[in-house]
C-alpha cells in the first residue's frame, strides 16, 4: 500500500520526464521492437515465396504469390530432414527429462542448510562454472567412454546443468523446512520427501525449467557437431540446417527430383533454406509465451539476487 502510494507520487511528480523525451522513448522502443521481430517475418515471407519469384527479384517483404512447396519438398524429398527432426524431438524429450531429474535432485541436496559439508559440495559445483578443460580434453573424455557417434553423446554430458541447479536450489530454499519435518517424524526417507513433498510444491520452477531446457535441447548443435562425426542419422535439426544453408543438395535426392518433374517446378533451393530455418524456429515461438511467464514471475530475477 505504502509502496503503491510512493509509485503514484512519482507518477504525478512535477519532475517527470519531459514530453519530448517520452515521445522519443516510445518511438525508439517501438522501432527497436520492429528490428527484433522483422527478420523472423522476412524469413517467413521468403519461405512461402515461389522459387521463380526469388530467382527474379530476390527475397522480399511480401511475395506476389504464396506457396508451401518449399516445406513439402523439405519434408518429402529425402529422409534426412525427417530424421533430423525426429532425432531433435527425441533429444528434446530425453535430454530435458534426464537433465531435470538429476539436476533438480542435486539442487535439493544443496538446499539443505543442515547438511554437513554442504558448502564444500556447493564449491565443487561452483568451480565448474569458473574453470573448464577446454574442447579437446572434453572430447577425449567423451570419446574414451565410447559415446562418439551415439545418441548418448548428445545428452549424457549435459546431465548436470550447473547454472539451472543453482536457480532450482534457490527456489527450494524458500520452501519452509517445517513442511518436511512431520514427514520425517513419520519415517519418510529423503528421496520420498523430495518426490512427495518438495517437487509438488515446486511446480512453477520445474515447469519453467522444462521449457528452458527444452529450448536448449531443441537448439542443440554443438555436441552433434563435435561428437557425431560419421552417423548422418544423428545430426540434429540445427546442424542439418547449417548444412542446408551452405548447400541445399544435402537433402536433395532422386525422390525429390521425381517430385520436381511431376510438378514442373524449380528446385526450391532458396525458399527451402528459409523454410528450414522456419521449421527450426517455430517450435520456440510456440513455447515462448510459457517462457515469458517465467520472466514475469520473476523467478530468474530472484535467483540472480539470491
Amino acid at each position: 500500500m505504502v509502496r503503491n502510494m510512493k509509485i503514484r507520487a512519482r507518477k504525478f511528480d512535477p519532475t517527470s520526464p519531459s514530453l519530448g523525451f517520452t515521445i522519443f522513448n516510445y518511438v525508439f522502443l517501438t522501432v527497436l521492437s520492429i528490428i527484433f521481430i522483422l527478420p523472423f517475418l522476412l524469413m517467413a515471407a521468403a519461405s512461402l515465396t515461389p522459387e521463380d519469384e526469388i530467382a527474379m527479384d530476390g527475397f522480399k517483404l511480401w511475395p506476389k504469390n504464396f506457396t508451401t512447396f518449399a516445406y513439402e519438398y523439405l519434408f518429402t524429398s529425402s529422409d534426412r530432414f525427417i530424421d533430423a527432426f525426429n532425432v531433435t524431438l527425441l533429444l528434446t524429450i530425453v535430454g530435458t527429462l534426464n537433465t531435470l531429474f538429476w539436476t533438480s535432485m542435486g539442487a535439493y541436496v544443496l538446499s539443505k542448510k543442515y547438511l554437513p559439508y554442504r558448502n564444500k559440495l556447493t564449491m565443487f559445483v561452483f568451480i565448474t562454472m569458473l574453470f573448464n578443460g577446454g574442447l579437446i580434453p572434453f572430447y577425449l573424455v567423451v570419446k574414451s567412454l565410447g559415446m562418439i557417434n551415439t545418441f548418448f553423446a548428445l545428452f549424457v554430458p549435459g546431465t548436470i546443468a550447473v547454472w539451472n541447479m543453482i536457480i532450482i536450489r534457490n527456489y527450494f530454499m524458500t520452501i519452509p523446512e517445517s513442511l518436511e519435518e512431520s514427514a520425517k517424524l513419520d519415517g519418510a526417507s529423503d528421496v520420498m520427501i523430495y518426490f512427495r513433498i518438495i517437487l509438488p510444491l515446486s511446480k512453477p520452477i520445474i515447469a519453467t525449467m522444462i521449457v528452458y531446457l527444452a529450448v536448449g535441447y531443441w537448439n542443440e548443435w554443438y555436441s552433434a557437431l563435435i561428437f557425431i562425426t560419421n552417423n548422418q542419422r544423428l545430426v540434429t535439426l540445427q546442424l542439418l540446417l547449417r548444412q542446408i544453408l551452405s548447400n541445399t543438395t544435402v537433402i536433395m535426392s532422386a525422390r525429390g527430383g521425381r517430385k520436381l518433374v511431376e510438378t514442373g517446378a524449380l528446385p526450391p533451393s532458396e525458399s527451402m533454406k528459409m523454410a528450414a530455418v522456419m521449421v527450426a524456429t517455430v517450435p520456440i515461438l510456440v513455447v515462448y509465451p510459457f517462457l515469458q511467464k517465467y520472466f514475469t514471475k520473476g523467478i530468474l530475477v530472484g535467483s540472480i539476487k539470491g
Binding site: F21, F36, F40, F59, K112, T128, L145, Y288, V301
Partner: protein, 316 residues
C-alpha cells in the same frame, strides 16, 4: 553457555566424516550422480590440460603419449596464424564490449521510464526473443539479408541505384556484423538483470530527490545509475575475463569455413576446433586452450583489483 559447550563436545564426538555420511546417507546418495557427472565431464577434462605439455598420440593414449615440454607452446607462438587469431579474438571482444556492454543498460533505463505497463511488457517480451534462437537460425537471417543475389539489403541497394555488395567475401565488414548480431541477440535478455537492479533501489531515495526538486534526469544520473553500478561492475569484470574467448557458436554459424573472411574473423576457439580437433593437432589445441584460461584468469584478477581501486564492486 555450558549447554552450548556440551553440544560442541558432543558434535565433535559424533560429527566425524563416517558418522555424518551414515546419518545423512540418503541425501549424499542423491547427490552422488552430480559428483560422478561433474567429475567425469568437468574435472577430468581440467586434468586433461596436462596434454598441453605432451605430444598426444591417439593410439598411445593419455598416459602413453610422450612428454613434449614447451614444444606445443613454441609451436603456437611461432605459427603465423597466432598473431591474427589473438588480434581478432581481442578486437571482436573489445568492440562487443564498447558497443554491447552499455546497450542493455541503456535499454533498461529507457524501459524504466515507460509508464504504460502493457507497452513495457510487450517491448520486453519481444526483445528477449532473439536470445532463444540459435546462432544457426541467426545465420539464416543473415543469409536472408546479406546474400549477394537474393538478399534483402542488396535488393534495397539496387532499388536506390547502388551497386550490390558481395557481403560474404568482404572481410572488412564482418567484425561489425558480428558486433551487431551479438547485440541484437543479447541486448533484451541482458537488460533483465539491470531492470532487476533498478527495481531493488530503495524508492525513498527517489522521494527525497523529488522533495529536493531533482529533475527526472538528475534522478537517473544520481540514483538509478549509481544503483546499478555494482551489477555493471561485476558483469564488466566477467566480460573482461572472457577477452581471449571467441564466441564459437557465432563464428561457426555466421562465418564457418568461409576462408576469405578469416583475416578479420578467425578466432582462437574456432581455430582450436578446426586445427586442434579436426586437424588432429590435439596437444596444440589444448595448449591454446590453456593459454586462453591463463590470460583470462589474470585479466579477471587485474580488473577486479582496478574495479575495487576506483571504488567499484569486485567479484570477491
Amino acid at each position: 553457555m555450558i549447554n552450548a559447550n556440551a553440544q560442541t563436545a558432543m558434535g565433535q564426538k559424533k560429527g566425524g566424516l563416517i558418522y555424518n555420511i551414515k546419518k545423512y546417507r540418503g541425501l549424499y546418495i542423491m547427490f552422488l550422480p552430480v559428483i560422478i557427472c561433474l567429475t567425469v565431464f568437468n574435472y577430468i577434462p581440467m586434468w586433461g590440460v596436462i596434454l598441453a605439455f605432451k605430444n598426444y598420440l591417439p593410439w598411445k593414449g593419455f598416459w602413453g603419449s610422450p612428454w613434449a615440454g614447451w614444444a606445443n607452446f613454441e609451436y603456437i607462438f611461432n605459427t603465423p596464424d597466432f598473431p591474427r587469431l589473438v588480434r581478432n579474438t581481442i578486437l571482436i571482444n573489445v568492440y562487443k564490449m564498447i558497443w554491447g556492454f552499455p546497450a542493455p543498460i541503456i535499454l533498461a533505463l529507457l524501459l524504466n521510464e515507460v509508464r504504460v505497463r502493457f507497452f513495457k511488457r510487450t517491448v520486453q517480451t519481444i526483445s528477449y526473443l532473439p536470445h532463444f534462437v540459435s546462432w544457426i537460425v541467426i545465420s539464416g537471417i543473415a543469409y536472408n539479408l546479406l546474400n549477394t543475389n537474393f538478399g534483402i539489403i542488396n535488393n534495397f541497394l539496387k532499388l536506390l541505384g547502388y551497386e550490390p555488395v558481395q557481403w560474404y567475401i568482404r572481410a572488412d565488414v564482418w567484425r561489425s556484423i558480428l558486433v551487431i548480431t551479438h547485440i541484437w541477440k543479447g541486448v533484451g535478455y541482458g537488460s533483465i538483470i539491470y531492470l532487476a537492479a533498478i527495481s531493488s533501489i530503495d524508492p525513498s531515495l527517489y522521494e527525497a530527490a523529488i522533495v529536493d526538486g531533482a529533475t527526472r534526469w538528475q534522478q537517473t544520473w544520481h540514483i538509478t545509475i549509481p544503483g546499478i553500478m555494482p551489477t555493471a561492475s561485476i558483469l564488466f569484470i566477467l566480460g573482461v575475463g572472457g577477452l581471449m574467448y571467441g564466441d564459437f557458436g557465432q563464428i561457426y554459424a555466421l562465418i564457418g569455413y568461409n576462408s576469405p573472411l578469416y583475416e578479420t574473423t578467425d578466432v582462437l576457439d574456432f581455430y582450436i576446433y578446426r586445427v586442434g580437433l579436426q586437424g588432429g593437432k590435439f596437444s596444440v589445441g589444448v595448449a591454446l586452450g590453456l593459454f586462453q584460461s591463463i590470460i583470462g584468469f589474470f585479466l579477471v584478477l587485474i580488473t577486479n583489483y582496478l574495479a575495487k581501486k576506483v571504488g567499484g564492486e569486485g567479484i570477491w
